[in-house]
Symmetry: C2
Subunit: 126 residues, 2 copies
């Protein structure tokens, strides 16, 4: 999901220590896991490598009070996975936080910024 309101894009990241516990990519992956029923299929649907999607899941599972993604043992790469109850709660809270952030951007300063934009940009000279 891309959070854009006109020319403004907002990204929110939640840190646990130095690790990103939740962000746009991880939230998208959670939604894809819920939809696809496996980590590898979810990653594929987002154009993400198996290794990358597995790393994101591992990070999420270590950064919250409980695991956000549960896997079904056995079955190799395509074994099933689903988003836990806490995973659904964290995802919903994160999406709500994103919506709040974007809603707060409808202020005066942004209007002025938009007025200064050149859209489309001038072409490159090289």
């Amino acid at each position: 999901m891309t959070l854009r309101t006109g020319p403004l894009k907002v990204r929110a990241q939640i840190f646990a220590g130095d690790e990103i516990a939740m962000g746009p990519g991880k939230a998208d992956l959670l939604e894809a896991i819920e939809r696809e029923g496996s980590i590898s299929a979810a990653g594929r649907s987002l154009g993400m490598s198996y290794r990358r999607s597995w790393e994101l899941v591992d990070t999420m599972n270590r950064c919250w009070a409980e695991r956000l993604v549960e896997t079904v043992p056995g079955g190799g790469r395509d074994r099933g996975a689903h988003v836990s109850e806490m995973g659904r709660e964290v995802l919903a809270l994160y999406r709500e936080l994103e919506r709040q952030l974007l809603g707060s951007a409808a202020g005066q300063d942004f209007t002025r910024l938009k007025g200064l934009l050149r859209d489309p940009p001038a072409p490159r000279n090289y």
Copy 2:
């Protein structure tokens, strides 16, 4: 500048078409140019290559109604540069937008999210 309130980090990007007209890296670069007086010195102070800092300046200069960075002709890589009047205005508006976004994050949902975080994260098992 890193916009963090506790575990939350917010990034705002302003798009002109498909190009990022302003974002955290470009705003930091503008501030560094104002401080250092040249694009190359500004890039160095941020650990950014000359090529990268020049590309960011070129993008900014094409994405707004007027150039945000003016360079003094001649003198090679270390020729002088300064932030234009419009550059200072865009920078100030962008920083204010960032502050507004971060301020809006002090809501209830974020409090609940924080309560679910495991900080520090559990160690990796591999």
